[in-house]
């Protein structure tokens, strides 16, 4: 039943696909500042900002730097992981889900929450530093992506979400 509900919603309003993308910001409360969605090739599929007073780089440079940071942090956490005995070499590209991954980091001005799906979709949500665990809301955003973007017949994968 739930499956039918989801598919009928998309078929009723295929033009209104930006509308389901808006709730992530409102759903996570006033705390969400920036949201990035990358695919496994590093293409930025979606970028939203709600509160961003500081912009040091132009958008494409900013997206590249963010993807690069996540890529390096992934290999860093996979290598430094103190629990797993068998670790690969540092700098070798990892498959999605391979090695120990991180789910958030915190600085004095922001907190970055990260989730990677098995297909290599990366969701990044930047919030206020004192927000709690956002893993569930990232999962929720991923579900919205699956329901309203992947199941949309007019969407070609690997292109920015419109």
């Amino acid at each position: 039943m739930q499956f039918f509900g989801g598919s009928s919603l998309t078929s009723v309003a295929p033009e209104a696909s930006p509308a389901p993308a808006a709730p992530p910001g409102t759903g996570t409360g006033a705390n969400a500042q920036v949201l990035y969605v990358f695919n496994r090739n590093g293409v930025c599929l979606l970028y939203r900002e709600w509160h961003r007073p500081l912009r040091t780089l132009d958008p494409t440079q900013d997206h590249k730097l963010m993807f690069g940071l996540l890529f390096s942090l992934r290999s860093f956490t996979a290598k430094i992981d103190p629990i797993t005995a068998e670790k690969g070499n540092l700098g070798v590209p990892l498959l999605p889900g391979q090695g120990c991954s991180f789910y958030s980091f915190k600085t004095n001005t922001y907190k970055l929450n990260f989730m990677e799906s098995p297909s290599g979709i990366k969701l990044i949500l930047i919030t206020h530093p004192r927000t709690g665990d956002q893993r569930d809301s990232l999962k929720h955003i991923y579900n919205l992506y699956v329901e309203y973007v992947v199941k949309n017949p007019l969407y070609t994968s690997g292109t920015p979400i419109k």
């Binding site: 509160h51 940071l69 430094i80 992981d81 103190p82 005995a85 540092l90 980091f105 600085t107 004095n108």
Partner: protein, 143 residues
């Protein structure tokens, strides 16, 4: 090693070079080259995280939470970074980092034979560090 609260400790100088590394029982092999590379990688990621901040005044990553461990980092005003890899959800790590920094200033910087920004080889520092980490482990066991 009943309760290994801390897995490893790194101290990085202001240009990203590893000057102190100690392992407290993490699994797998990590040779000298790996630890040097990890240290310089952390140094650059710390710098990139400052550039990506949506709000001015960012000083870099304090805490990295992964599925198997937490990493707490402390940066001194002179740019020296100290970071520990510990169990997930370990408490009081900021205090521990400050204590380690205090030991660094007392036993490394005040050592007349120590050359600044060079690898730390000070017996007294090693001795006091071991004591602090042991004490921390005991304190964690008591809770």
């Amino acid at each position: 090693m009943a309760l290994a609260a801390i897995y490893s400790l790194f101290i990085i100088n202001k240009s990203g070079g590893l000057i102190y590394y100690k392992d407290y029982g993490s699994a797998g092999r990590m040779d000298t080259n790996d630890s040097l590379r990890l240290a310089s990688l952390w140094h650059s990621m710390h710098a990139i995280s400052q550039q990506l901040s949506p709000i001015p005044g960012c000083t870099g990553i304090d805490l990295l939470q992964a599925h198997n461990f937490d990493l707490h980092c402390f940066q001194s005003l002179t740019g020296t970074k100290i970071f520990v890899v510990c169990e997930t959800g370990a408490q009081n790590m900021e205090t521990l980092l400050k204590v380690i920094y205090e030991l660094y200033t007392d036993f490394v910087l005040k050592n007349p034979f120590y050359e600044i920004e060079m690898p730390i080889r000070c017996e007294l520092f090693d001795l006091n560090l071991t004591q602090v980490i042991q004490k921390d482990r005991v304190a964690l066991l008591g809770r």
